[in-house]
């Protein structure tokens, strides 16, 4: 009888074990395709970055596919809202850009960084002060002096009123107490590069990747970058911080999941992202396009979004007051 009971007990326990592993296996993330919502048009900077990184993360995930979906409606807000409202089970991810830190303060949406959990921010392009190579100033201070003597004359290109590079230029004006003429190029930094190459404007504060070829050819020069540390692409260019002005404005894009996604799921994604960001392929992919890749992962990315949100909040409120 005892043997029989022992046998029963053993069977029960083993069934219990098998049952629990089966339950665990069924919950094993990921078990079906993951959608990544990109709130921008295909082919743009955010889109190619997103496709690049999920393509690399794909290798880790075997048969499960990452499916990118472009939703540029409503200036990208519709796409970001969809990610925020999606079921937090890790099967709907999205890309958000620095606009997330600006839009809520411009009255365009109620979404903020608090609605998302970050996985990785592969790019955080700093605003670079770019001027023609033959301009009569070679350092930031010389440029500021020139501006003080010629208020409102120097034409600086940006990618649209209220967009990141315009805000960066406004911050620049405020920091140094100068005035420039803002000329918007709504189609983006490629148009600004064309305008600078054709000598139609005098400078710009924008992400340096579109200007890399012109800088290397010696037609343009970068005076300083608004970053915390020097960029790998242009190691000779000082940061605003080094020159004594603590101002850092970057256009980042972050791969995020909706708030409330369970930690185990986030960990899987973040670990994979971490692995990918250390691969040579990853670094090469971005460097060759003129983008300095970053490895801001998980909580660090959350921090970055929070910091920028606070910064833009203060700054944009001041601008609004001035009007």
């Amino acid at each position: 009888m005892r043997k029989y009971q022992a046998l029963l007990a053993a069977v029960a326990v083993s069934m219990g074990l098998v049952g629990s592993t089966a339950a665990l296996a069924a919950d094993q993330y990921p078990s079906k395709d993951i959608t990544v919502i990109i709130p921008k048009n295909p082919g743009g900077g955010t889109d190619t970055t997103a496709r690049g990184i999920i393509n690399l993360m794909q290798e880790d995930f075997g048969t499960v596919k990452f499916v990118p979906v472009n939703k540029p409606d409503g200036n990208g807000i519709v796409g970001m809202q969809e990610v925020a409202k999606a079921k937090p089970d890790g099967y709907t991810l999205g890309m958000v850009t620095v606009e997330l830190a600006m839009f809520p303060h411009q009255g365009k949406t109620d979404l903020t960084y608090k609605d998302f959990e970050s996985i990785i921010a592969p790019i955080a392009a700093p605003a670079a002060l770019i001027v023609p190579a033959d301009a009569p100033y070679n350092t930031l201070n010389e440029f500021v002096d020139y501006l003080k003597k010629n208020p409102g004359k120097v034409m600086m290109g940006n990618s649209g009123v209220g967009a990141i590079w315009h805000v960066a230029t406004l911050a620049f004006e405020k920091q140094f107490g100068v005035k420039v003429k803002h000329i918007p190029y709504p189609k983006g930094t490629a148009d600004i590069a064309a305008a600078m190459a054709g000598k139609h404007i005098d400078g710009t504060l924008a992400d340096p990747s579109s200007f890399k070829t012109q800088v290397e050819a010696g037609n343009l020069k970068i005076l300083a970058v608004m970053a915390d540390s020097r960029t790998n692409l242009f190691p000779n260019v000082p940061t605003f911080k080094e020159l004594g002005f603590d101002i850092a404005i970057r256009a980042w894009a972050t791969l995020v999941a909706p708030k409330g996604t369970p930690k185990e799921v986030l960990d899987v994604l973040r670990n994979s992202a971490k692995k990918v960001s250390e691969k040579k392929e990853y670094v090469d992919y971005f460097l060759k396009q003129g983008i300095d890749p970053t490895k801001i992962i998980g909580e660090d990315a959350n921090e970055m979004m929070k910091k920028d949100d606070l910064m833009f909040g203060e700054f944009l409120a001041e601008i609004a007051k001035q009007k």
């Binding site: 472009n70 990618s159 649209g160 003429k181 918007p184 709504p186 064309a194 050819a217 396009q289």
Partner: protein, 496 residues
Amino acid sequence: MESIIDALVQLVSFTNIALLILSTALGIFIGAMPGLSVNMGLALLFPVTFKVGGLGGIIMLLGIYCGAIYGGSITAILLKTPGTPASAATTLDGYPMAITNGQPGRALSISTTASTFGGVFSTFCLICCAPLLAMVALQFSKPEYFALAIFGISMITSVSPGSIVKGIIGCIIGLWIATIGTDAMSGLDRFAFDSLYLKGGVSFMPILIGLFAITQVFINVEDNFGKKYEKKDFKIDNVLPSMADFSLTLPTLVRSSCIGTFIGCVPGTGGDISSWICYNQAKTWAKDKSQFGKGDPRGIAASESGNNSIVGGAFIPMLTLGIPGDGATAIILGALMVHGIQPGPMLFTNNAVDVYMIFIGMMLANIVMGAMGLSLIKLFTKVTNVPMVILLPIIVVMAMIGTYSYNNSVPDVFVMLGAGLIGYFMHKFDMGVPGVIIGIILGKLAEENFTGSLMMSDGSLSIFVTSPICFVFLLLALVSLLSPMYKPMLKSLFKS
């Protein structure tokens, strides 16, 4: 010389040619399907090109690019539905020739030949005078873009089928639709009425698909009511255009390819603008204009060579300055950079072999596209034999899929339906549809550059007359706009 041979050897391999053929086929499919855009196809294939690696990847992107711009003409001619916005002008003469006159093979062969001619011509321009053209392109600043846009808009008086006054109404409505949304020049939301969708602007694709595909479905339902199905018999002996057609369209081909290459080389303008300007110019310079809009081969030739010559043109600023002319060239630029080719002023000195590979690659891509197109003509013409009963529902579904997948947007589908309904009544009231399309395409270009020019000049209008390029285009625009008024006067003057 050795670099050219080096390039040829590296490029022409079995795998590369196979990849080119595959990607061109995919490109033609993407181009033909309304709603699937060139940029989407390139973005989709971008990661795949890395797995393929190196040259093969670049070749694939070139194949898709050329194929997609050409593919749009197929549906434009057979179904009056432009597969890509660049082929909208092809519908004006392509569809009448193919369906109303019953010559689909002739229309398709003219369009394929024109597309290949345009592509090859512009590649030659790229090879021979890229730096020169690039310098001209750099002269374009905001006033010049504005003048070019106005020149494009001024064509409305000569391109409009039907009543000119009503065509102008359509054009102004189109210009207005382009203003809906967040204005990038001032940050203000215009005509958005608190709708998140409208703040992003009304998408162009749904309107294009609605006005062409859906409207045509309704028109066909009406026209075919009560008619019995008749199988049409075409004997297509030769897929190449006849000598007569070729010599008739040759001046048009050359003129349109020049215009297209130039417009392609100016950053920010593309095949959609170029095809309309070329169509209009073909009509202006033709002695006998009566057949335009009814199946004149020159109309097809102008539009198709105009849009394919963008390819070579867009590569000019991209290769010489590292500045992409449009979204598609931006993707190709990224791909080139990741593969280690650095476009820009240093390219020609540092990587001569790479440059020749790109040139040869483009030539090959255009030739493969032409060959594929010609060989598939017999297959494509079979579409015209599909009974309307089956074809029309299929077109509606394809339009739905195309519109939805363009932006993955639900409101877009309803915009398309609305445009389709309105288009039907516009057709009934003799209000030409091309006007609306021209207005939407050129609206942003015109307004943003107008506002931007005034920002640069501190509000002074003199900026528009001080630049020679700007002034010339504005003058041409005025001449073109007033042409219906003085042309009859000139004619009677010459007669007497």
